[in-house]
Symmetry: C2
Subunit: 122 residues, 2 copies
């Protein structure tokens, strides 16, 4: 029945700080699609149709709205090539989006381990 609070100066403050930081991250990256879209973008898919095919299950309406939200947060740059006809629009990951590579890799590694763990226990 001991409180297993971490041996830090003030565990309540530490916990609140961690929660706030993770909430800030989830505010931008949370939800069903955003991280998946970022993975597809970082992997080199730049056209709307390619992205929709890669991020299985996403509708055009939702993909469009998620791309706008990612653009507002500085993670995607929308580029329209008006010099060619028909005009081609590309969605490119910004340098800032590249800072998510480590997070994606840690999350993916955990997912792989979790899948192994489940398949062993079944």
């Amino acid at each position: 029945m001991d409180k297993k609070k971490k041996q830090v100066n003030n565990p309540e403050v530490e916990c609140a700080k961690k929660l706030a930081a993770v909430e800030d991250a989830l505010y931008v990256l949370g939800g069903k699609w955003k991280l998946r879209i970022i993975i597809a973008l970082i992997s080199g898919y730049t056209r709307f149709n390619e992205l929709q095919r890669t991020v299985t299950g996403i509708s055009a309406r939702v993909l469009s709205s998620e791309l706008k939200s990612l653009e507002i947060n500085g993670l995607v740059k929308r580029v329209a090539h008006t010099e060619i006809f028909p005009v081609i629009t590309e969605y490119l990951p910004t340098d800032y989006a590249e800072t998510l590579k480590n997070l994606v890799s840690v999350l993916g590694d955990w997912g792989i381990k979790h899948k192994k763990r489940i398949s062993i226990s079944i």
Copy 2:
């Protein structure tokens, strides 16, 4: 207009693998609350009321259902201390939940950086 696909053997397969791994992780950790509850648990909050106070905004009904889901996935152990009266119930993070510490830390670090970036640009 070059496809900026990564120089790997088969970028499509690599991207699909990453997407699948991240989806496996998000299946367990996705949504608004699960990671926040895990942070509170790892920080040492073990009682239902403590958890509800710490994870701001969560309702008792949702907290209860999220704790059950985390228990099914082996991340939380529910312990009822029947030897004392009134019976006290604790929710303890499992060793498996501790494997999420790195992920929480990477996500939190990104959140902190993102907040700084936003406050500079405003």
